[in-house]
Amino acid sequence: MQKSLKKTVIGFLLWNLFVFGLWIWSREGSVVHLRMIVDDNHHSLFCNGQLVDSFDVVQDQCLWSGRPGLGLSKDSRPPLVVKAQELYHFTVTDTHSGELLWGGTGPMSESDWTMMKGRFDFTGNNRIRTSFLSLGVVGDVRWQNYAIDVTCANPTELYIIYRMTDNDNYGRAQLRFWRELVVGFNYYRNGDQTFHRIKSLAEPLEQGIRSLMLRFVKVYVMAMLILCGFLMVFLLFSVLTQMIRKFLLRRTE
């Protein structure tokens, strides 16, 4: 009996230790590092170091210079998402000279950005969020060939903007990590779409599993709370009813 109880308690503790370990591993949720390279007419997109797509755009469909930027869409996921979509570590590097054109680890503020649509919210830990479609650009319209690096936590739908001169002339990659699982590359010249390409896209396996595990752990904690709450109420009622019984017995005596 004692041995069985010991085994049971050890098993219980080990299981919950395992769940705690899962929480440690998954608490950041899903994080993807994106790198978009625009080099003359050659374009490449990498997700966590893996090439997603690489293609050339013919001369009359392409733009040759413009500002880089980012965009975020309204979160289309159901309300119980583990964490909101956030962008951080945004840098722009010249592909020819290797010079850092913009960004780094310093703080980001609203004044650095020219908003083309919507508004970015800057969190205390130097991250960009938004609750509606927002697009912003940085830098110089004369920039030509560059690599845009950005990290996205819990991605659903985001944009990487390149070679933007104004609202009618720009290139963009629209990355949809939730449901559709595609990336669409476009160029717009004078308001008309001159280039369109679509490619399959998904979070790396480890990141997807992380966010699912975080969801599991959170629900598990709620389950634990309900069970513990129930037992606490039970103990409370037990003590109370016992006290009342004793009191009544004493009175009848």
């Binding site: 979160d75 289309s76 559709e180 998904a202 396996l205 969801r215 389950a223 309900i226 009622f237 016992q242």
Partner: protein, 559 residues
């Protein structure tokens, strides 16, 4: 970790308690039937709203004629719905036969719209039965309540999809599986095999997903089979394979080629939309599927599964915040889990795992691909309440409190608290979804194809009865009505009013421009021509003007 084997006994309960539980479950089944019938009638307007449903309806009409396919009419593309195959001049729906067969029976009685509500009621009864037989009376009541209050269950059971039957048959597999694992017998093996075989003819991939845990638990519990586990598996597999054989025979009969999927062969010779070709790529070559021709990948599969699970998490119960699914995980906490619970968890996991083989999430009425996990969700959630009670009982027995004489009173009082709390959760769910007809859009923003509140079922997926209503309002008879063909939903809204024989008084056709009008009108000499806009449902007369050699539309206006 210790697990309690299948011969865990239920606590004895009086006959009157049994009767009360039975009455409550029957009440829940009646509520499920009436509720989903009302949703179908009032919100879905008794018409199919999704391409798949239109397909089942079409095939049911064919069965009603005593046919499985029909010669495609001339210019079939004017009458074709998405996914309905035209192959070697055969016109048919390539989906498995069981759902259209049931719809055909409903159609014969004039109550096709009550088929899925009836299946919903049977599902509630069966899930209640599973709990009564294998768990507890309390869990039976709560599982029925959880199921009937689930928005996902309500909206799906009101539809014309195959998933409600998939749920019922999955519950049947669980029922037979638990019986077999508890008391192995040839009868139970046959029942299990039949349930799997029928499920294969409803949702083939789901039947694989459900079979895997059943087989693995047979092997895990082989000691219970007195060395005859292989015999039992063979019987089960043999019966299930009869179902698979029926599927293949039916499929090859449709395609006209021996032992080939109708879907498989359709890819090479299909008129109509490209979506069917994409579906067929799934069967032809996994690597060829996927957007952008990059193929299906594990990452893509996980991405789809993640979206489905996230939606299920919110939509299956619709409880406040993180309380969703919390009862579901309680049986996973304690130190001594029951084999039945593990079997249900494994079956729950198996379904999304199998659907991660699919390259898209295909959300419609919610995360429909994994709808068949609902029996596991509600049973395990109800089991969560059992576990709370069991834990209290364990403390009672294994602490100095065991000598206290008031513990039964305390336990009952705590149980009432738990029931009130659970009742509040269920009430908030029903209130948000049905009673108040309110759902905070900030909480659940732009997930299209998930009816966020009951009223969102009206005109769901862009399909409306308003076109047919206009035709009836203007007393249009003996006519061809061309429907504006911007999206499939236009013709999809009325395709169920056509008949495969094309002999209805009013025939609907897709509007494909001026060239199409004489083509179609020549097929139906003497019929008048009309044109109707979609989605505004404005009816126009369509008359030929010899001067311009064009058909002219004139909108009908009330005097």
């Amino acid at each position: 970790m210790n697990t309690l084997s299948f011969n865990h006994s239920r606590p004895p309960v009086s006959q009157s308690a049994d009767l009360l539980v039975m009455m409550i479950i029957i009440c829940m089944a009646v509520i499920a039937f009436v509720g989903t019938a009302i949703i179908n009638n009032r919100y879905l307007e008794r018409i199919p709203h999704v391409q798949d449903s239109v397909n089942y309806w079409f095939q049911a009409q064919l069965y009603g004629m005593g046919r499985t396919w029909i010669e495609a009419p001339e210019n079939v593309e004017y009458f074709a719905s998405e996914h309905i195959v035209v192959q070697n001049n055969r016109w048919y729906c390539h989906y498995p036969f069981l759902v259209p067969l049931l719809f055909m029976i409903g159609m014969k009685f004039g109550y096709i719209w009550l088929v899925n509500p009836l299946i919903a009621a049977l599902s509630v009864l069966l899930i209640g039965r599973i709990c009564v037989e294998h768990f507890s009376r309390q869990s039976a009541v709560w599982a029925a309540v959880f199921l009937v209050s689930s928005p996902f269950f309500l909206v799906m059971s009101a539809s014309f999809m195959s998933h409600p039957l998939g749920l019922l048959l999955t519950a049947a597999c669980i029922y037979a599986g638990l019986r077999q694992l508890k008391n192995p017998s040839t009868g139970n093996a046959i029942l299990l095999g039949a349930a799997i075989g029928l499920l294969f003819n409803t949702r083939p991939l789901t039947s694989f997903a459900v079979s895997l845990p059943i087989i693995s638990f047979h092997i895990r519990n082989r000691d219970r089979f007195n060395g005859k586990v292989l015999r039992h598996l063979f019987i089960m597999g043999f019966i299930a394979l009869i179902g698979v054989g029926l599927f293949l025979l039916y499929s090859s009969h449709l395609s006209g080629k021996t032992l080939q999927f109708a879907t498989h062969t359709a890819v090479n010779d299909v008129k109509g939309p490209t979506s069917i070709k994409i579906v067929n790529r799934f069967f032809n070559s996994f690597a060829a599927a996927g957007v952008g021709k990059t193929g299906h990948t594990p990452e893509r599969g996980l991405g789809c599964t993640k979206a489905l699970i996230e939606l299920l998490h919110t939509f299956a119960m619709n409880w406040p915040g993180w309380l969703n699914f919390s009862f579901f995980l309680i049986p996973l906490i304690p130190w001594r889990r029951r084999e039945e619970d593990l079997f249900l968890y494994w079956t729950f996991l198996s379904i999304p795992l199998w659907y991660s083989l699919y390259w898209r999430s295909a959300i419609m009425y919610g995360p429909r691909y994994i709808y068949e996990v609902m029996p596991m969700v509600v049973i395990l959630s109800a089991r969560g309440m059992d576990v709370c009670m069991d834990a209290a009982g364990w403390i009672h027995r294994n602490s100095p409190m065991r000598h206290w004489k008031t513990l039964t009173v305390a336990r009952s009082a705590t149980a009432i608290c738990l029931w009130v709390f659970t009742g509040w959760l269920v009430y908030t769910d029903v209130d948000q979804y049905v009673i108040s007809d309110y759902y905070d859009m900030k909480k659940f923003p732009v997930v299209s194809l998930v009816p966020m509140r009951l009223s969102a079922m009206n005109g769901f997926n862009g399909v409306r009865r308003s076109i047919q209503d206009q035709v009836e309002k203007w007393n249009v008879t003996d006519a061809v009505v061309f429907v504006e063909d911007r999206r499939w939903q236009g013709f999809g809204s009325v395709s169920s009013f056509n008949h495969p024989r094309m002999d209805t008084d009013v025939v609907y056709a897709r509007d494909k421009g001026q060239a199409g009008y004489p083509l179609i009108l020549k097929m139906f000499p003497g019929k008048k021509a009309y044109w109707i806009a979609y989605p505004r449902a404005q009816l126009h007369t369509l008359e030929y003007n010899p001067d311009t050699d064009q058909y002219v539309k004139t909108m009908l206006k009330e005097q």
